[in-house]
Every structure is written in structure tokens, then in C-alpha cells.
């Protein structure tokens, strides 16, 4: 019983974190057909920016409560700057190229971003635990959990819901769906596709940075986190079907629960349980659970 509760709550926590870190990836893929390895870099930039800002702020001795504003602000600034630089500086020259080639391009950007974070923030680790413990803990069936964990779950839900509403209920969202459907026709209809691309990329980058920023208080931020998160984010969006936001949510839940289960039942399996689940799902549904069907090219 206790294990079941622990797996469920921890799984939800993992899932929220995974969803926030991977939804930007699936959004960018869905709209731009770019599988963005550099997304791990956005996550790291967000995490560093947030941990660093929290560190600076807590030194002033003011109330910790304000850090809950610092986290999203750090993510926004880090995501918008790095997203804009990369989209305007590199990617826009590459549009229309082969999808595989775009993976390699973003891999190159990932490598560059990795060193840029090292140059800005150094190689030592940043620890900014204060926001995670400020709100205290609550007991779930006798197991104490930080309130912060549930806050992340709430944020993930809000982000997911907002994206869903924007995409399906607003004019902009509907136009975006048209762009996804057919780039050329949308241009002919007078939709500013370039602008949509830029905005999507920056939003995706900011979401990635938010994933990092919001996790920063729970982990030690150090070099290498970008490489770790990107492979997990891949697993999440591949399970859900690339380009599908609902799919990312389901994928995050599956991966989160699988990881939590292995942590509680058989800890050594923690890392590979994720990919095992992914391989199992792909063996049955080759392009993920909610993938759009694609015609074969002749």
C-alpha cells in the first residue's frame, strides 16, 4: 500500500517534471519538423539562470516567497534570449532541409550551448534548495512530500491546459494548426509563417527553460544535466507520438510512473526502465501512441 502511494505520488512528480521539460520539444517538432536536441541546452540554461538568481536573491536575506516569481522570470529571460538567438542566428537559414540534417544541426547547437553555459556559469554546481522547502511538507498516507512537488504538478497542468486552449480555441492557435497542415498554402493565404516559426521556437525554448528553472531547487545544477534530460524527453515524446501535446502528457505519465516504480521496487533499473518501456510501446505502435498517420512517398 505504502509503495503504491509512493509510486503514484513520485510518478506524478516525475511526470510533471518530464512534461514541462519535453512539451516544448514536441511543440517545436509538431510545428517546425525539427527534432531539437538543443532543447536539453534550454533546460540547462533555465536551470542555471534560476539557481543562480535564487542564490543571489537569498543572499540579500529577503523573504523566500519572492523566489516563486524569480523562477519563471529567470526561465522567461533565459528562454527568450537563447531561443531568439538560435532561431534568428542559425535555424532560419536551414529551413526546408532534411529532418535528419536538422537533428545534426541542433546537435551542433547543443554542443555549443553546453560550452556557453560553462563559460557563463562555470563548471561548479549550483544548489538552491530554499524554494523547495519554504512551503514545508504535507503527509500523504504518512509519507511526507514537499508542497513544492505538488506545485510543479499544478504548473504542468496549467501549462498543458493553456497550450491546449491556445491551440484549439484562439485565432492564433487555429492559424498555427493551418501552418502545421501545409506550410506553402498558409504562406499563399497570407499567414506570416516565418513569424509563427520564430514565436513557436521561442515559446518552445522558454518552456524548456521553465522545465529546468522549476526543477533547479530540487537538484544540484551542474554540467551534464542537458544531456540527461534530452534523452528522457525524447523517450517521452516518442512514446506519446511526436508533435502531439496530449501525447507528451501521456508519455510523461507513463515514463514518470515507470521510473517511480523502478525506484521503489528495483532501484538499479531506474535508468533503463524508461527506454525499456519506450521500446516496448514502439514495438506495438511504431510511431508512438498519438502519432499522426503519414503517407509513403513515391
Amino acid at each position: 500500500m505504502l509503495t503504491t502511494v509512493a509510486i503514484t505520488v513520485d510518478g506524478l512528480g516525475f511526470a510533471a517534471w518530464l512534461f514541462l521539460s519535453s512539451v516544448g520539444l514536441t511543440l517545436i517538432y509538431g510545428v517546425m519538423r525539427i527534432l531539437n536536441i538543443a532543447h536539453g541546452g534550454f533546460y540547462a540554461v533555465g536551470a542555471y539562470a534560476s539557481a543562480w538568481a535564487i542564490g543571489l536573491y537569498t543572499q540579500t536575506g529577503n523573504t523566500i516567497a519572492l523566489t516563486y516569481l524569480i523562477i519563471p522570470a529567470a526561465a522567461l529571460i533565459a528562454g527568450v534570449i537563447s531561443g531568439l538567438l538560435i532561431e534568428r542566428g542559425v535555424l532560419r537559414f536551414m529551413y526546408g532541409r532534411d529532418e535528419v540534417l536538422m537533428v545534426l544541426v541542433t546537435y551542433a547547437i547543443f554542443l555549443i550551448l553546453e560550452d556557453v553555459t560553462k563559460l557563463i556559469w562555470g563548471t561548479e554546481s549550483y544548489i538552491s534548495y530554499q524554494p523547495a522547502y519554504f512551503l514545508g511538507t504535507i503527509d500523504v498516507f504518512g509519507i511526507p512530500y514537499t508542497v513544492y512537488k505538488f506545485m510543479i504538478v499544478a504548473v504542468a497542468l496549467v501549462v498543458g491546459l493553456t497550450l491546449f486552449l491556445v491551440l484549439n480555441k484562439t485565432r492564433t492557435g487555429k492559424l498555427l494548426l493551418v501552418v502545421i497542415e501545409d506550410r506553402e498554402i498558409s504562406t499563399a493565404l497570407g499567414i506570416n509563417v516565418t513569424l509563427f516559426f520564430t514565436v513557436t521556437f521561442v515559446v518552445g525554448a522558454t518552456l524548456g527553460a521553465l522545465g529546468g528553472a522549476i526543477t533547479a531547487p530540487e537538484i544540484s545544477v551542474q554540467p551534464g544535466i542537458s544531456a540527461e534530460i534530452i534523452v528522457m524527453a525524447f523517450a517521452v515524446i516518442v512514446i506519446g507520438g511526436m508533435g502531439s501535446i496530449g501525447g507528451a502528457m501521456i508519455g510523461a505519465l507513463i515514463v514518470g510512473l515507470a521510473r517511480a516504480a523502478s525506484v521503489h521496487i528495483y532501484p538499479p533499473a531506474e535508468l533503463f526502465s524508461i527506454y525499456l518501456v519506450m521500446a516496448a510501446i514502439l514495438a506495438v505502435k511504431p510511431y508512438g501512441l498519438f502519432a499522426l498517420s503519414q503517407g509513403r512517398k513515391i
Partner: protein, 327 residues
């Protein structure tokens, strides 16, 4: 084309005594880099032959690691230190694994292939990092190799291993060159251009890809065994996706035009790394990334196209643009 060896093979044949002669010319530290990069160069070759079919493997580190670990485990558990046996074991294990995985992977193309190979290699990474018996993230050391019962010592041991690396690597490169010019090799290029038409013509794309995948696995595992023996150590980083990314990087940089290209590319990169890390340790990856971007934009067929450009123009049909317009 009636000659038995083509130009590439002649170059490789000539390279063999030349590289061995370097034993008496080059300083030891350069020789070490030659040896190490021949090992990793084989893995890059494995990535490259798959790239010919338009498949980018972001998990070739898997077989690099399988080779290294099976050699290491054979040494640890069965006290096998004979280099020929170790290579054989590495190849066998990787063939079994790649044969099995091939059934799943051959169904995928493009980014799905890239991500699935990555996922599979990360499974092994996960297993190895959490297995205390195998040294977890630290890995373990390998015994010194013997040659049919002969255990050389001191400088002799270094030279013997060097020669034992040069000869098989160049031989394999020659064999792969043959393979790329064989029917299956050409089917692979056709798959890259248009898979459906290949099937209409009566060839099985799945089968060709499966064979190529296993071939790449075997070659990479030999690279893994030789690399592990020259370093004397294996650890899970060998199968981390960043290592695989490095192999992809080499293939992109050197291009898929010729089997010699990845071998040379690996060596130059290794030497470049020595100096770059010396100059500023935290910008090495940024340099790599920048070079990669520049290569993709300005030399889409890799560095090798610089050498091969003239020849290409005279041979028709060989230089089709990679992305033919129109859907």
C-alpha cells in the same frame, strides 16, 4: 574496372606498411593517438556505412561498448587474453545483439531510426551504470593482450598492439569498400534516394538495412575491442549518447564519400582536441559544434568532397543531389 584493387584499396594497402613504419619515426604520444583513433575510426566507419543508406545512428556507441565490454568480461571471467579470440568474441556478441535488434530497427527511417538507436544504447548505459559488479560508472581494467600465447613486454607490447591494430583496421576498411561497391551496397544508396522504388524493383529494403546494420555493429565492436585494449580500460561512457554523437560528428565532418575519410577524420579530430583542450578547456565542444555547422552549410558532403570534386564531375550518375526537390 578490371583491376582487382581500386584506388582506395591500393591506398589502404600502401598505408599499412607506411603506418607500421611510423613506429620508428613518430614520437610515442602521436602513435598512441594513431592507435586510439584507428579504434574509434572503425566505429565512425560503422556510422558512415549506415549513412550511405540515409540512416543516422545516434547509438553506435552501443556496439563500441559491447565490443569493449565483451573483451573485458572475457578477460575477467574466463581469463582469455588472446587478442584474436577477444576480437572474435566481441564480433559474435555484437552480431547476436544486432541480429535481434535489427528486426525492430529495420522498420524505422530518418529521425525515428536515430532516436531508437539512441534509446537502445541508453538501455545498455543504464544497465552498466547500475551494475556494481562491473564497476558501475567507473568501469574496469583490461588485461594486457597476448598473441597466440605470446605475451610481449615493455616497448614490445606497445608495438605489437599497434601493429595488431593497424592491420585489421585497414583490412576491414578495404572489405567495407568492397561491400559498398557490392549489390547490397548500391541498394543502400538507392534506399536513401527512394525506398519504395527499390521495393518495386524487387529488392528488399528491410533485408539490406538489416545486413548493413549488423555489418556496422560488427565493425564497431572490433573498434571497441581494439580501443579498449589500447586504453586498457572500459567504462559506460562508451555507450552514452554523447559518445555516439561524436561518431556521427566524425562521419558528417569527413563525409560518406570514401572509407578512408572517417579514419583520417578521427585522427585529425583527436589531434585537434589535444591542442584545443590545451588552449581553452571549456570551449572544445563549442569548437566542435561550430565546425559541424560550418561543414553542414558549406561542405554538405564532408571534407572528403574537397578531394573528390574533380572526379565526381566526370562520372555521371554518381553525384545526384541528396534532396531532390518535390515530394
Amino acid at each position: 574496372m578490371t583491376r582487382f584493387f581500386d584506388k582506395t584499396e591500393l591506398a589502404l594497402l600502401a598505408g599499412m606498411p607506411l603506418l607500421i613504419a611510423m613506429l620508428f619515426v613518430l614520437p610515442q604520444w602521436v602513435l598512441n593517438y594513431v592507435q586510439v583513433s584507428l579504434g574509434t575510426g572503425l566505429v565512425a566507419l560503422g556510422v558512415m556505412i549506415q549513412m550511405r543508406a540515409g540512416l543516422v545512428s545516434f547509438g553506435q556507441g552501443l556496439y563500441f561498448c559491447v565490443g569493449g565490454y565483451s573483451a573485458g568480461l572475457a578477460g575477467r571471467m574466463f581469463n582469455i587474453s588472446d587478442i584474436f579470440l577477444l576480437v572474435l568474441i566481441g564480433v559474435l556478441v555484437s552480431l547476436v545483439i544486432s541480429f535481434t535488434l535489427g528486426f525492430l530497427l529495420r522498420r524505422y527511417r530518418d529521425i525515428f531510426f536515430a532516436m531508437l538507436t539512441l534509446a537502445v544504447s541508453m538501455i545498455l548505459f543504464g544497465i552498466l551504470t547500475s551494475t556494481e559488479e562491473l564497476g558501475s560508472t567507473d568501469g574496469f581494467n583490461l588485461p594486457a593482450p597476448t598473441y597466440l600465447g605470446w605475451l610481449p613486454e615493455g616497448e614490445m607490447a606497445r608495438n605489437a598492439l599497434y601493429i595488431a591494430t593497424v592491420i585489421p583496421v585497414l583490412t576491414i576498411a578495404m572489405l567495407l569498400n568492397r561491400y559498398l561497391r557490392s549489390p547490397v551496397g548500391f541498394v543502400n544508396e538507392a534506399i536513401r534516394e527512394n525506398e519504395l522504388r527499390v521495393e518495386y524493383l524487387g529488392s528488399s529494403a528491410h533485408q539490406s538495412i538489416h545486413i548493413t546494420y549488423m555489418m556496422a555493429a560488427a565493425v564497431s565492436s572490433i573498434g571497441g575491442v581494439l580501443w579498449a585494449l589500447s586504453i586498457g580500460h572500459v567504462d559506460p561512457e562508451m555507450t552514452n549518447w554523447t559518445t555516439s554523437g561524436h561518431f556521427v560528428f566524425i562521419s558528417i565532418l569527413s563525409g560518406t564519400g570514401n572509407v578512408i575519410a572517417p579514419l583520417l577524420g578521427t585522427f585529425f579530430l583527436e589531434i585537434l582536441r589535444v591542442f584545443a583542450v590545451d588552449l581553452s578547456p571549456n570551449t572544445w565542444q563549442a569548437i566542435l559544434g561550430t565546425v559541424m555547422l560550418l561543414t553542414i552549410v558549406f561542405l554538405p558532403k564532408g571534407m572528403w568532397s574537397l578531394f573528390a570534386r574533380k572526379k565526381r564531375q566526370t562520372r555521371d550518375g554518381d553525384d545526384l543531389p541528396q534532396n531532390i526537390a518535390g515530394e
